[in-house]
Every structure is written in C-alpha cells, then in structure tokens.
Symmetry: none
Subunit: 211 residues, 4 copies
DNA sequence: GATGAATGAGGATTCATTCAT
DNA sequence: AATGAATGAATCCTCATTCAT
C-alpha cells in the first residue's frame, strides 16, 4: 500500500488529503485575516470543517501553517512581478505590482515574513527562499523602471519591497470604514518614488541580501 | 514647558510609588517594544524589579497599562506639534513633527491607538481624548503647511496622522541591522507629500472625526 | 427507570470521554461537598486524576460544572417526586421525598440553585428549567397531601421546596460527629407541617413562579 | 505616656483607636452581610473610611475580624436569652428568642460559628467561650419551656440552637423579594417544637458539649 | 489519514497580609 | 497608631500540541 519512497519529502498526497490541505490553507488565511495571527487553531479547524488533529497532520505547528500561507503569497507576488516584467510600461508595471502587494497586505499583515523578520522562526517551510525569489523579481522590476526614469534613481528593489506594505498599514485603522483608503496612500508613496521633485535620501538603501 | 504631571493621577503619589510608576511605564514600554503587545505582565514586573501585584496596583488591567503608555506618547506628540506650530517654517515644522512621530513609533507600534482602532478597548485612560488633541494639533500644522504651499493641496491632517507611522513600519524588519533606516523612508513619504510632481489621489481623505 | 443519558450532550460521547465526564462530576461533587463552592478546579482535576484542561473540555467554566451537578440533582429529585406521586400514601410519599432531598443536601449545599438564587449566573446549563420541573413535581406531591389532610392546609409546594434543605443545614455543624442527625430535624420540621396543632402563619407563601 | 502595663492583653485603647474599632466592626458586618464572607478587606476598609493597614492593626487576620463579629452576636444573643429568662411566659420567651436569632441570621450567616463548626479555625477571639455562654443560656430557656409544657419533652437546648438558623436559611433564596418570609418558616419550625401532635424523633439529641 | 479528547504550560487578575513611611 | 504601597500565592481559563481510537 505504502509507496516505496515512503519517507520521501514530497510524496504525492492522497486526493482527499490534498483537498484538506487546500481547505485548511484557505480557512487559515481567512481566520488570520479576520482575527490576526492570534487566531486559534481550533477556529481554523472548525472553519475548514476538519478535526483539530488534521491541522497538525498537515502542518507540524502553527508557525508552519503561517509560513505556508506566507510562501503561497510570496510565490503569487513573484509570479505577478515576473509576468508584469514581460509587459510594456515599466512605471505602470511597478505601480500595478505595488497595488497587488498592498491588496494582499490589506487582508493579512505578513510583512515580517516578507522582509526578513524571521530571525526567531526556523524557516519552517522555505519562506526565506520564497522571499528571495520575490525580492529578485521585484528588483528586476525596479531596476528596469529606474533605468527608464519611471522612478527616482536612488531607489532600489529593497526599498520597494519594504515600502510595499506601508500603504495598507497606514490605512489599516480605518479599514472597516474605508476599505479602499489604502489606494490613496499607495499613490502618495508612489509619488514619493517618482523622479520629479525628489530630494536626496538620508540613509543608504539596505543591500538586497539583507531582506 | 512641560508641567510636572501633565496627565497624572488625582492625588500626588508618594515619592516611592511615583518612582515605581515611572519604572513600570518604562519597563512596560521596553517590553512591549521588544515582544509586542503580547508581552506578559510577569515579564514587565520582572523587568521593573517589582512584584506582579504592584503592576495591578498602578494599572488596574493590562489595557490600562497599554493605554497609559499610548496617552503619554500622544500627549508628547501633541506638545511637540503645538510648539512646532509656534516656530517659523511650516514645511520644516511638519517634517520635524513626522520625524518625532516616526522615532517614537520605531520603539513601539501603537498605531492602532493613534488612529482610532480602539473599538474593542473601553478607552480606559482617555486615549480617545488624547488622540483628538493630537489630531487637532497635527491638523493645524498641516493646514498651515498646505496654505503656504509646503505640502500638496489635497493632503489633510488625517492623512498625515495615518501616514506618520508608515516609515517606521516599513523599516521595521531591518530595525536591528539598520536602526536609522526609517529616516530614508520618511523622506520618501515626505517627498510624496510635496506639491512638486503630485498626481491626483484616488480616494477622498477620511474626515478628521473618524480618527 | 433512569434513561442512560437523561440530560446528556447532543452527540454520544466516546466511551473514554463519557467515563471522564462521570469521574469529573463525581470528583467535583465530592470536592465541592468538602470544601464548598470555592473548591479549586485544580483540586477537582487532581481528584479525578485528570489534567486541568480536561475539566474545561467537558465544562466550559466552573459555573457550568457547578450547574451540571445541580441539574443532575434536581432531575434526580424530580424523578423521585414523580415516582412517589404514583405510590400510595400521600403523607408518606411527601416525607420520603423530603428525606431524599435532605440526604442529598447533606452532601452538598446547592440550596441557592434549588430555589432561584441564580440571578448572577446566566443559567449555563438549564438550572432554571430543571428547577421548574422539580418545583412542579413537588407541588403536585404537596397538593395531593394537603387535599388528603396529610399536611396543614396553609402549606404550599413552594414552602416545602424552601424548607427541604433546612434539616441538613441545621445538622450541618455536627455532620462529622453525627452524620444522621439531620433525620431528627427533618422530623421536627415535618411535625411542623402536620395539620395537628398548627398555628396560623404570619406571612403569605411565595408564589411558585418565584422559585 | 505609655501606661505601665504596656504589654498587657487588654490595654485600654486610645479614644480614636476604640472608635476605629467600632467603625470597622460595623463596616465589616455590613459588608459581610451584603457580599458574604468573601467580602474583601479592601472593601471593608473603604466602607469604614480607614486605611487597609488599620484593619490589620485591629484584627490580626480576616478570621479574627469575622470571629470578633461572631462573638459580638453571640454575646448579644446570650444577653437576650438571659433577660428573656427573667420574663414571664416560657413559650413566648423561647419564640421571642428564636425570632431574634433568625433576625440576626437573616443578615449574615454565621451558623458555623454558632454551632461548633470551627474545627479549622483556631478560635482566634474566644468564639468557643462565647458560644458556650449562649448555649447555656438557651438551654436554660428551653429547659424551663419544656418543664412547663411549652415545647415537646424530647427537645433540648442543643436542638434549639441548631434549629435557630434554619428559618432564615430556608427563606434565604427569596430574601430580596420577600424580606420577612423567614417569619413564616420560623412559625412552621416552632409548630414542630410544640407538644401537640409531636411524633417520636428518630435520633438522639446531640450533647450540649458538642456545640 | 482523520478525529477530538487529554494535557499542562502560561497568562491575567484577585486579595490577604506585610512593611516602610 | 494610621496609612496605603508592595508582594506573591492562588485561581480561572486559553490554547498549541500530543496521542489513543
């Protein structure tokens, strides 16, 4: 019954198990979005209509679950960045990317995992690699935009990654009342990234590798 | 400038109690800064070298402690804003204020309390009033700057209050490695507030009263 | 006579869980009897040889545990009253019921829950209904006895419910030394309920609905 | 200044201290009556308009405070019993005494201390002696009544002491709604003590010394 | 693989009691 | 003698995680 490569790292899951995994990720994302990272495993399991034990069958710890979500989001952003890179206008592409990032952030603040704040987590599910992939993709996007004058010359990919979450964060306190307010602050920040009227920046950008 | 006990308790505390109160506020601020709002009372007490019960003698609940810190910070910002309003250059005054705000935020993220995200807290120690005072002071600062062309015409005091915390937030993940990085992002955001090269904003500003 | 799970939970519990539930109820009853309602959950858990958390798995709060015990007792009394009502002699039936009630009370004083003193509890487990059922059953018993001249005419079901706990209470201080002393005081009280030598009572009986 | 017998057990208190002691006893009695024996020392101190430390200056522990109240009540009852003994009708005297006892009990249930349930308390303030005095006085009252046929012959002083608290206890759950209901149950119990229609009692009375 | 019962460490809070002022 | 600040043991409860079914 058990396939020969019984202890291989990536055994294909049984159909129902795979389905449960997706249900769980969705439920967890929703619950985390609503209640923050303190959402309880019990609530997530209930929302996924699954036993509590099943959660731990799929994700050895709450952190693993959290990072699995983060990885999914990072990968999604990486993909977006890459496909936008194929598109035409560099400035528009970057703004579109930032919009996607803020939209995501609007739902669940994972910024710590997006930008290297994972010192205390043992990178349970490859966040570091996923982040690296995203950072590289964003850097490509930014480099192209900078070279074509769509953003100011002293801005790097690392800056953009870090600033990506800021608009949603600024609008956060009024999210209930004005769910689209983040768009306003994204434009403010983006205006700050433009070459026109740029003033010299007081601190060097962090190296890409530190993200 | 500062009165001895701006928002202190009714009766003047005994000397030693007053000292403990300050020790506690400092310890709590530090602990919250390091561990977030989930820092435990036990740790705070230990850090203040005080019994656990003493914390509750001074602050009837953890929320009261948290809000006491928030109120102190808000009042400090209000004062800064007011004294900057008396100074000369409107643009510089606003930038200086944002610098102070970001510096504070750098240490402990209380943005939720700074901007009306206190629906679930019963305002134990007057955060709402403190916030209102600050918002009014900031609005005065912004209005003056806007009238004199130091910031773009479509920016309001509410916008500034909300954006105030963003630079520290963006730089947060790299705080350990680059403690001054927030200055960089403060300048980016401030460039976004300038009139030069401003693009139209996609969402109306929130009314002051909603903060 | 007794159905397997008279007021049990919706789903049939797993065998081991059901056993733990009974262990817990027994341990709690014993502990409450010895230490009063201030007995600690930790002690109850220890006595039931169960983890503290298990207590809360079965009963969401201490009040729920307490009321679960109360409901069980009330239901037991209701049943007794109903089956005694089917029996022959009205006077004997009432005395037998009071004996059962006092016997129960002897072990754990839940009189407050037996007689409407639950204003501060949000009726976590249906004490109110259980009490109503018992009160109704007792009233039937008393009405029959009164109509047949077995008790004085100015006594109601409410009176009997209230007086039911008194004998065990009176004998309480000497429970250790004379565990059966309550029988003596039950007879005194019961003599007071008899028609012979009854003097007029100075206060109207409380309406049934107030119990 | 300090009187010679400085460490004598019964130094006359300074006038203000004596006053505070009375304030405290009154406040404690009121608070215990309202909130039960779990009333907090802090509340008592506040009610007496006295510092918390003062409570402990007068009463070395909460138990001492509680027993001081009990002793005062017992002494009061002893006095009543003794003066009623001097009066005319034995039956009326006993009923009057029971009325006083129930009235007292109505306010604060100290029955445990009234009837020897102090095994766990180290008799901090002479409850045992005070109880003995009362028991003796009640026994005299009962003996006289029994000899004159005002109560049934098989009833002793010990029985009456134990039964004394029962009416208030029975009426307790409805105290708020019907504050005088205890009078009804006192008459029921008293009818049970009368010689008319008395049935034999199933258990010997406890010896006086066991109270 | 799925389930949910069992577990116990950890957290906020209360309160009698002690002690410095 | 009076005060009230300090203390820490005790309590209820939550929740991630383990494990038997």
């Amino acid at each position: 019954m058990t396939p020969p490569e019984s202890s291989g790292p990536r055994r294909p899951l049984r159909a129902d198990a795979a389905r449960n995994r997706e249900l769980l990720l969705a439920a967890a994302a929703a619950e985390f979005a609503e209640r923050g990272v303190d959402a309880s495993i019990a609530d997530i399991a209930r929302r996924a209509k699954v036993g509590k034990g099943t959660v731990f069958n799929h994700f050895p710890s709450k952190d693993h679950l959290l990072t699995a979500i983060a990885v999914a989001r990072l990968d999604q952003l990486t993909e977006s960045a890459e496909s936008l890179l194929a598109g035409s206008d560099p400035g528009t592409a970057l703004l579109d990317f930032l919009t996607l990032g803020a939209e995501q952030q609007q739902q669940l603040d994972l910024s710590a995992m997006f930008a290297g704040g994972t010192a205390d987590i043992q990178d349970p599910a490859g966040v570091d690699q996923a982040r690296e992939r995203m950072v590289r993709a964003v850097d490509a996007l930014v480099t192209r935009a900078r070279e074509q004058g769509a953003v100011r010359p002293d801005i790097t990919g690392a800056d953009v990654v870090l600033l990506m979450c800021a608009p949603a964060y600024a609008a956060g306190p009024l999210r209930q009342a004005y769910p689209e307010l983040w768009r306003r602050y994204l434009m403010v920040v983006f205006d700050g990234l433009r070459p026109e009227g740029a003033h010299p920046l007081p601190h060097p950008p962090p190296p890409l590798g530190h993200l």
